[in-house]
Assembly symmetry: C2
Homo-oligomer: 579 residues x 2
């Protein structure tokens, strides 16, 4: 009973044993993550084309919802870069960025993503995320990183950015080069250089000055806070807002209202495809981060419970004024390294953001948008993983093709086209590969019971008995190919009397393949050849026994290839050596 | 050179050796097929909602085109039942059946199907047809047969039929029951009973009267000609046209004009999805028939050459006033049994149809449509294969589900929805099956080098060395599942020191699965367990060698599971028996 409750409501599992010592660790981690999250929440709202408070609201109640239902102790939920880019892309066609309709649609998008994730969790559909292959995800994240960086260049230059693909962005920037604001460029460029130097050298420098490794690392990661404070102060003192520098502007002080998002069916229908993609990508990223961190402490997370927790977090975002959320990679790592022990750290982070919203909004009004753009560019530069592209290309042509297609389409057409084509292409290429399966005529390794490919090994073969090892499950896409392979084999071996299909690699025979096997059996019988099976697996044999095929089979079913060899190859046939 | 020419232009291969004797065989077959094709051409035009001459035109020049480029000696090309139903469904939303726009769209559909087939042939995409699995095709053909029979009931009753799904048809018929024409019903019902009796008893009766088996069979198959002649004569003598019996009406005498079909881009775009489906279904049916017949004479056909030939035949139909064509099952069998030796039989059939069109159209004007409807109903009754449904359901749940979905959607929503959902569902179910692969801990069969599942066989196992046989290729959809399986195994075997992955069933490891294997290797290493691989196939090993994985692997790669067993299981560990 207790176990079942803990599965439905993870908080019930760990809260009983919660101790004061754990609270201190969690609270410390929460302070550090809050410092990191305040500028990120504002920046990702900027990236999504939303007012800054939407990012802050997405960093409060959704974190509490995740803390109650999530199974990861360290996953830091909130607005993230890729989901913000996808949000901007989904809402761009619906309303003017920043308008009330635009914000309303963002809440619908969060609620809809939440319902989708929650529903997938109830139906235990977590496996659907497996169809986003590593190369597709990796290519998509790299291309998204490039798009995000490109979308922020306008803010650094003080001109209007925009466009949901690389070409539109470049065109937009080039057409406005005469309108660059030099003060904005100075602030944005300065922040960019400062953040880059902090990321690259600060940690090493602090360690050189005698600071502990972990503390130095966390200090370096707090650099964006420094940039925010300094540039805010500069903008306030020199009244840069009056000089054409875009500032964040007034942020409503106070906590979000709780209200249902718009229930207009046409907006929900319009946003559905984008919500599905945001849900899947957010889930895959969250689970990867959570599993990686859990494995380091020998903990497990439950993907279907994560779906429910992320679903509830997004639904909470939708009713509390927030944009879609998922587990962020860099914040989760910081949370982990700062010593978060339980989801309480996440709940305390929400409290920290609430305090910041109540107290700091007067100051944040003077924060230059260029500073936020600089923090985004530095943050997403870690998403761009060019070595992974090279590695994938060198390992497998078809994985590489799916990855390149994802990257090029994401850059050229936008995020939706990129990920959809990537998924369809990787499934299509997989089906294509399995539709022309590898098969090999095998012979006996001398003195053993082991059989290997005659073209790769010195093995014994026999003219009358040919053993064909089929290296793929037999199903509709390759059933006809098997028929053709066997017909070719028959014409290549005029003396053949027995054909043994070695089925150790055949994990499944579907109804189409069964019909093909029946056709092969009949055709071989016409040609005076008996068909035998060897090493048929238990589950496959169970299936075949339910059909008349085993009775119609002209030959036998052998337990092992060696049994078939012993029974069919007599010494009178003589052995032949081949190389 | 000659071989290559014969591959590009099959007629060049066989025409050199063509002899008088062969011509006599081909001509005889052509006469019999012509007798069968005249009523079928008219009937399938009726089914497609087209004027009768369109069916006749589709039976002339397209047959000549196929004779020049086809690789099957006996495939009888022309209008067929399922393609005619699909044509009616595709054109139903575009124009009023029988109107000039409707006929024009039918020509576009033929030309477009031809271009698609031709293009697939050039790109050697014949394998795409493999994705129409046997259960989906079989279910689709059965449901189409029911729809076709339903669509013809109106003609038998003398009322307006129509509707592209079963519900609409039944509703349409029920609402007009008061308008049934008793004379039409007498003719249609009489023809139906006559044709049924001929099909069921005539052949046996003729054999009983001393006629040869083959001749009796062909005579029975000519029964529709008799029905056509008798009912035409009755309609003429009794002037049934004036009494409310629908007759075929005036058929333009003469040969078709050669003209390009409409080139309006919007019609082409609208018809594209339907053309793709008609092409694929027609191709699959044609190739199945052609391969079955070719195998009986130990001949081969070339699927990609068939694509080109069928493509050219359909393009020819599009420019010579015909509807889409493909290889018909029953006519091809008759052609084969009547002794057709080469594609010349097909060309001579075209001549026969041309002669009929030039001489018989005056008479055909008096042919009652009810007679044609009766021939269609009897012809498609062979398409309805209920035992195949039962067989598929009992063999495999997922194949059965795909088949049932195809049948129900075809009947309930129409042909396009049925086949598309069937294909998507069969691919989805296949991916789902392979995303949760079977795996088994295996042990050694005592005294052999053979390893089997510990849960199915009495085998020797060892506490320190666990052998896991993975029964599926490793790819993105199941990579994460493997990680979970291995983690579970580790927690179930506290004494484990070595894990051997037996890879005889692993036909492919893609980039996603490689990353999972690397993760498994690292995690096992943390737990003090070495990871070994055994029986890795040549092509898979070639791939792995291109990566750092083999260097990082904590254990070894063994040629066979037995080699791994010998090296890792020492007698000191002691053997355990399990059942």
């Amino acid at each position: 009973m207790t176990n079942r409750l803990a599965r439905l409501l993870p908080i019930a599992g760990w809260l009983r044993d919660y101790q004061g010592q754990t609270f201190v660790s969690d609270a410390l981690a929460a302070v550090i993550v809050t410092l990191m999250l305040v500028p990120q929440a504002l920046a990702y709202a900027l990236l999504a084309g939303l007012p800054p408070e939407v990012g802050l609201y997405a960093s409060m109640l959704p974190l509490v919802a995740y803390a109650v239902f999530g199974t990861s102790a360290t996953l830091a939920v909130g607005p993230v870069a890729v989901a913000s880019l996808m949000t901007a892309s989904a809402l761009g066609g619906i309303a003017q960025a920043g308008s009330p309709e635009y914000v309303g649609a963002a809440l619908v998008l969060a609620a809809l993503s939440g319902l989708i994730l929650f529903g997938m969790g109830l139906l235990r559909l977590g496996f659907l995320a497996n169809f986003l292959s590593h190369p597709v995800i990796s290519g998509f994240v790299t291309a998204s990183g490039i798009l995000i960086a490109g979308s922020q260049l306008g803010h650094i230059l003080g001109i209007q950015g925009g466009g949901h693909n690389l070409l539109a962005m470049v065109q937009g920037l080039l057409s406005q080069l005469d309108r660059i604001n030099p003060i904005t460029l100075t602030i944005g460029g300065g922040a960019l250089v400062f953040l880059y130097l902090c990321r690259t050298f600060l940690k090493r420098g602090l360690v050189g000055l005698g600071m502990g490794e972990r503390l130095a690392d966390l200090t370096a990661k707090a650099a964006p806070v420094t940039a925010v404070m300094v540039t805010t102060a500069v903008a306030w003192v020199f009244e840069l807002g009056a000089k054409g520098v875009n500032l964040v502007g007034e942020v409503p002080s106070g906590l979000p209202d709780i209200a249902l998002p718009s229930l207009a069916p046409d907006i929900w229908a319009t946003l559905l495809p984008a919500a599905v993609l945001i849900s899947l990508v957010g889930f895959v990223e969250s689970v990867s981060v959570a599993q990686t961190l859990a494995a380091k402490r020998r903990q497990r997370i439950d993907p279907n419970a994560e779906l429910i927790a992320l679903g509830l977090a997004n639904m909470t975002a939708g009713v509390s004024g927030g944009s879609p959320v998922s587990g962020g990679f860099s914040r989760s790592v910081v949370n982990f390294e700062a010593g978060a022990q339980t989801p309480v750290a996440g709940a305390l982070t929400a409290v920290g953001i609430a305090v910041a919203t109540l107290t700091l909004t007067g100051l944040l009004a003077f924060l230059p948008k260029a500073t936020l753009a600089a923090t985004i560019i530095i943050a997403v530069s870690t998403l761009i993983d060019l070595p992974a592209i090279r590695r994938t290309l060198s390992y497998s042509k078809s994985d590489g093709a799916a990855m390149l297609a994802t990257i090029l389409l994401t850059l050229g057409q936008g995020v939706e086209a990129g990920i959809v084509v990537g998924v369809v292409l990787s499934i299509g290429l997989h089906l294509y590969r399995t539709s022309r399966p590898h098969s090999a005529v095998v012979g006996r390794m001398p003195g053993t019971e082991h059989f290997r490919n005659v073209q790769r090994h010195e093995v014994e073969v026999d003219d009358c008995t040919v053993v064909l090892r089929v290296d793929e499950s037999l199903y509709f896409a390759n059933a006809r190919y098997l028929e053709e392979t066997v017909l070719q084999l028959v014409s290549d071996h005029p003396l053949m009397k027995n054909l043994v299909l070695a089925c150790q690699a055949v994990n499944d025979i579907d109804a189409s393949a069964l019909e093909s096997l029946e056709a092969i059996n009949r055709r071989l019988s016409d040609a005076g050849i008996r068909l035998h099976l060897a090493e048929v697996k238990g589950p496959v044999m169970d299936c075949l026994k339910r059909t008349p095929f085993c009775d119609e089979l002209t030959g036998q079913v052998f337990l092992s290839t060696y049994d078939a060899w012993k029974a069919l190859v007599t010494t009178a046939d003589g052995f032949l050596k081949t190389g």
